[in-house]
C-alpha cells in the first residue's frame, strides 16, 4: 500500500517534470490545454501521495499541490472558453482605400458563428469594397484595422489562402471565364482548397456524385456544368452558379454581394433556398444588399446600415423593414 502511494507521487512528479521539459524544448505551448491537463493530473497525484503521508506536519506540500490542481483547472477552463466566445468574423476599425481614395473609414463588426448579418446602404457607401477587402482583392489597400476569421488574421493572406481558411465571396457580377469548363473549374477549386487544408484530393467519381446532387437542388443542369464557366449564362443562372460554388466549397464564412440584383422573384426564391440550406451553427453569412426584398427570404439576425464607409446603425430584422419605408436618407442624415 505504501508503495502504491509512493508510485502515484512519483508518476505525478514525472508528469510535472515532463511538462517542464516539454515547455523548455518548445514542444508544448504554455497556454495549451495539454499543458494544463498533464500538470493538473501530476499535481493531483502528488497531492494524493502527500495527503496519504500527511501527519499534520508537512502542510506546505499539500497546499502547494492543491494550488497546482486549481491553477490547472483554471487553465483548462480558460483554453476551452474562447471556443465559444470568439466571433467567427471579427472586423476591427477597418480602413481601406483604392487609388488613394478612402472608401472604408473605420468599420467595426463581429459576426458570431451561425449568424446571418445583413449590410444595407445606399450606392457608394462602400458595400462592395467591404466584400472585396474581406476576400483579399489586391487593388484595395487596407490602411488600418484588422480582419480575423476563426481567430486567424486574414490581413497577410492572398485570396486563395483566405478561401482555404473558409472565406467565400458570391460576386455581384460573376465573371465569365471562356475556355474553362465549369466542372473542371469546380474540381480544380475544390481540390486546391482541400490541398491547402491538408486533406486528400477527391476522386473523380465522388466529386461528380456530390456535384450532381448539389447542382440538382439549385436547378443547375448538366448542360450548364459542361459549358465554360458563366459564359452565356443568364443573370439568374450566374447567381445560382455562385451558390453552387458555395455549396461545393463549404466555406465557414460567406459574403453575398448583392446576390439579389438582376433576379426575378422565382430565381430569388431558388437562390435564397440554396443559401438557407447552407445555414448552420458552423457557418456565418454577411448579406450585402441594397433592398429589403432579399431579407424576406434570408432572414438576418442583425442588420447594419453602412454609409460613407462607416456603420451608422445596427438593429434587428425590423430595421430593414423600417429602411424600406423611410429610405436611407433619414438614417444617413442623422448619423
Amino acid at each position: 500500500m505504501e508503495n502504491l502511494f509512493l508510485a502515484l507521487g512519483l508518476i505525478g512528479a514525472m508528469c510535472c517534470v515532463g511538462m517542464f521539459w516539454a515547455i523548455e524544448q518548445g514542444r508544448v505551448d504554455g497556454s495549451s490545454r495539454l499543458y494544463y491537463i498533464v500538470n493538473g493530473i501530476g499535481g493531483f497525484l502528488i497531492l494524493i501521495s502527500a495527503l496519504h503521508e500527511y501527519d499534520g506536519g508537512d502542510a506546505g506540500t499539500v497546499v502547494t499541490e492543491a494550488a497546482w490542481v486549481v491553477v490547472s483547472l483554471m487553465g483548462i477552463y480558460k483554453t476551452m472558453r474562447p471556443k465559444r466566445e470568439i466571433p467567427m468574423l471579427e472586423i476591427n476599425n477597418l480602413h481601406a482605400s483604392i487609388d488613394g481614395k478612402d472608401i472604408l473609414k473605420g468599420i467595426t463588426l463581429s459576426v458570431p458563428a451561425g449568424q446571418v448579418h445583413a449590410i444595407m446602404g445606399p450606392n457608394g457607401s462602400g458595400k462592395s469594397t467591404l466584400s472585396y477587402v474581406l476576400s483579399g482583392r489586391e487593388d484595395y489597400e487596407v490602411t488600418n484595422g484588422s480582419i480575423e476569421l476563426n481567430g486567424k488574421s486574414l490581413m497577410d493572406m492572398p485570396p486563395e489562402e483566405r478561401a482555404a481558411a473558409g472565406m467565400f465571396l458570391a460576386f455581384q457580377y460573376p465573371i465569365e471565364i471562356p475556355g474553362v469548363q465549369t466542372t473542371t473549374f469546380l474540381k480544380t477549386a475544390l481540390n486546391a482548397i482541400r490541398k491547402t487544408r491538408g486533406q486528400p484530393e477527391l476522386d473523380a467519381l465522388s466529386f461528380l456524385k456530390t456535384l450532381k446532387s448539389k447542382a440538382e437542388k439549385l436547378g443547375v443542369s448538366d448542360e450548364m456544368l459542361k459549358r465554360p464557366l458563366n459564359v452565356g449564362f443568364s443573370g439568374g443562372e450566374k447567381k445560382r452558379m455562385e451558390i453552387l460554388q458555395m455549396a461545393m466549397l463549404e466555406p465557414s464564412f460567406a459574403v453575398l454581394d448583392e446576390t439579389d440584383s438582376g433576379l426575378d422573384i422565382d430565381a430569388l426564391k431558388i437562390v435564397s433556398e440554396g443559401v438557407n440550406a447552407l445555414r448552420g451553427p458552423d457557418r456565418s453569412f454577411l448579406v450585402i444588399t441594397h433592398y429589403q426584398r432579399l431579407l424576406d427570404y434570408i432572414v438576418p439576425d442583425v442588420v447594419h446600415v453602412l454609409s460613407k464607409g462607416r456603420i451608422v446603425k445596427s438593429g434587428g430584422p425590423e430595421l430593414a423593414k423600417e429602411l424600406e419605408s423611410t429610405g436611407y436618407a433619414d438614417i444617413v442624415d442623422a448619423a
Binding site: P159, P174, I177
Partner: protein, 413 residues
C-alpha cells in the same frame, strides 16, 4: 544599294552554287535579284520590327543532305493514316509513295511575283536560288498529308531551303499538316517558301506547328491563290526558333473565296516572332478572317502585321481581323500593325487589337475560389489560346493543346 551578305554571293557560296547540279536559269535569275537587293533590313516598311542581321551573322551555308539517323515513324505524327513526308535540311528523306514528289519540282516555274509586288521578296528569291527538294502535291482526291521538317547537322550553320508547291483540284477537301521539329541543337536554319493554289470549290485546311530549336532562325513565305468558292484555312502554333517570321500573302481571285488564318505565337526568353499577313480581295463577295493570339514572357519581342487590301471590284467583301496579346513580363514587347486599304464602297471590314497583362478581375475571381495564382494564370492562358483550334480534327487539336500545355508547364509563368 545595300550590300549582300558574303555567304549569299554566287562567287563565294557553297553547295548548289559552286556546283550547280541542275544549272537551272532561274537560280541565277533569283541570285541576281538577291544580289541587287540584299537581305531585307528594318529600313523597309514591312520589315520595321524584324531585323535579320543576327541571321546573316550566323554565316549559314546551303545545307547538305544528311542521312536520317532515326526511323521516321518515331516522329511526332498527329494522324495515324495520313500520307507522310519527311524533309531533313530541306531534302526529301522519307515519302509516301502515293504522293508526287520532287522530280516534278524543277519544272515549276520561278514565281517572281512577290518580289515585284512588295519590293521585299528577297527571302523568296533566297529560297529560289538555293531551293532543294520540297513537296509538290497535286491533290485530286480528299487527303490528309503530314509534312515534317527536321534540321540535322553539326556545328557549322546551314540553311535549309525547302520549296513546297500545293495544288488542290476543284472540289477536293484536303488537310495538310506542316511541322517543324527540333532535333538536337545543330544550327540548321530554315527559309521555306510555299506556293498554294486552291481551285474552285476546293478546301484546304493547313496546319502549321513551328516547334524548332530555340537557337534557330525559321522564315516562311506562304503565297496562296484562291479560285471561285475556294476555302483556305490556316491554323498555326508558333513556339520555337530564336528568330522567326512567317509571311502570308493571300489572293482572293474569284467570287466567294475565303481565306482564314488563326493561330498563336507563344514566346519566352529572348525569342522574336513575327507574323505578317497580306490579304488581297480581288473579287466580289469574298471573306477573310485573321485571329491572332500572342503570349509573351521574358524579354520576347512579338510582331503582328495584318493588312487587308480591298480592290475596287471587290464589293461585298467581309474582312475580319483580331489580334489579342497577353504580356506576362514588363520586359517583353509587342508590335501590332493592322492595316486596311479599301477601294470598294460596299464592304464590311473590322479590325481590333488588344495588348495587356492578364485581366485582374477573372484572376481574382478564380483565386477567391481557392485556386493558387500560378494555376489561375495558367487556366486563363489555356483558355486564351484554347478556342483557336476548336474547329480542327480531334487528333490535331489534341496535339496542339498538348504542346500548348507543355509550353505552359515549362515554368513560363
Amino acid at each position: 544599294m545595300m550590300t549582300l551578305p558574303s555567304r549569299y554571293r554566287p562567287e563565294t557560296a557553297h553547295g548548289f552554287l559552286q556546283n550547280p547540279t541542275d544549272g537551272a536559269p532561274w537560280r541565277n535569275e533569283a541570285l541576281a535579284q538577291l544580289k541587287a537587293r540584299g537581305i531585307p533590313t528594318p529600313k523597309l516598311e514591312r520589315w520595321r520590327y524584324t531585323n535579320l542581321s543576327a541571321f546573316e551573322k550566323t554565316g549559314a551555308v546551303p545545307a547538305a543532305k544528311p542521312a536520317l539517323s532515326f526511323n521516321p515513324i518515331t516522329l511526332p505524327w498527329m494522324i495515324q493514316n495520313s500520307r507522310k513526308l519527311v524533309f531533313a535540311n530541306g531534302y526529301l528523306v522519307f515519302g509516301d509513295a502515293r504522293l508526287t514528289l520532287a522530280s516534278h519540282f524543277l519544272e515549276v516555274p520561278y514565281d517572281a511575283a512577290p518580289m515585284e509586288k512588295f519590293n521585299d521578296g528577297m527571302l523568296w528569291a533566297l529560297n529560289t536560288a538555293f531551293m532543294q527538294d520540297g513537296p509538290y502535291l497535286n491533290l485530286h482526291e480528299d487527303a490528309t498529308v503530314e509534312i515534317i521538317h527536321v534540321g540535322l547537322g553539326h556545328d557549322h550553320p546551314q540553311l535549309a531551303s525547302p520549296r513546297t508547291v500545293i495544288e488542290i483540284a476543284p472540289g477536293v477537301n484536303a488537310t495538310i499538316i506542316e511541322r517543324y521539329v527540333a532535333d538536337g541543337a545543330a544550327p540548321v536554319h530554315t527559309n521555306a517558301a510555299l506556293e498554294i493554289e486552291v481551285a474552285a470549290g476546293a478546301a484546304l485546311q493547313h496546319v502549321r506547328l513551328q516547334d524548332e530549336g530555340y537557337s534557330r532562325t525559321v522564315l516562311t513565305s506562304t503565297h496562296v491563290r484562291l479560285a471561285k468558292e475556294a476555302r483556305y484555312e490556316n491554323s498555326f502554333l508558333n513556339i520555337g526558333g530564336a528568330l522567326s517570321r512567317q509571311e502570308f500573302w493571300f489572293e482572293l481571285l474569284e467570287e466567294g473565296a475565303h481565306a482564314g488564318v488563326k493561330g498563336a505565337q507563344l514566346m519566352a526568353g529572348r525569342q522574336h516572332m513575327d507574323t505578317t499577313v497580306l490579304i488581297e480581295h480581288a473579287a466580289p463577295s469574298c471573306t477573310s478572317n485573321q485571329t491572332i493570339r500572342n503570349v509573351l514572357a521574358g524579354e520576347a519581342v512579338g510582331v503582328f502585321q495584318g493588312k487587308v487590301h480591298v480592290h475596287q471590284v471587290a464589293q461585298k467583301t467581309d474582312g475580319y481581323q483580331l489580334c489579342n496579346t497577353v504580356m506576362l513580363s514588363d520586359r517583353a514587347s509587342m508590335n501590332t500593325k493592322p492595316e486596311l486599304e479599301i477601294y470598294a464602297d460596299d464592304v464590311k471590314c473590322s479590325h481590333g487589337t488588344t495588348t495587356g497583362a492578364l485581366d485582374d478581375t477573372p484572376l481574382f475571381y478564380l483565386r477567391s475560389r481557392g485556386i493558387p495564382e500560378s494555376e489561375a494564370r495558367r487556366m486563363m492562358l489555356t483558355a486564351f489560346i484554347g478556342d483557336l483550334f476548336d474547329s480542327l480534327d480531334d487528333n490535331i487539336r489534341a496535339a496542339l493543346h498538348a504542346r500548348t500545355d507543355q509550353w505552359l508547364d515549362h515554368g513560363i509563368i
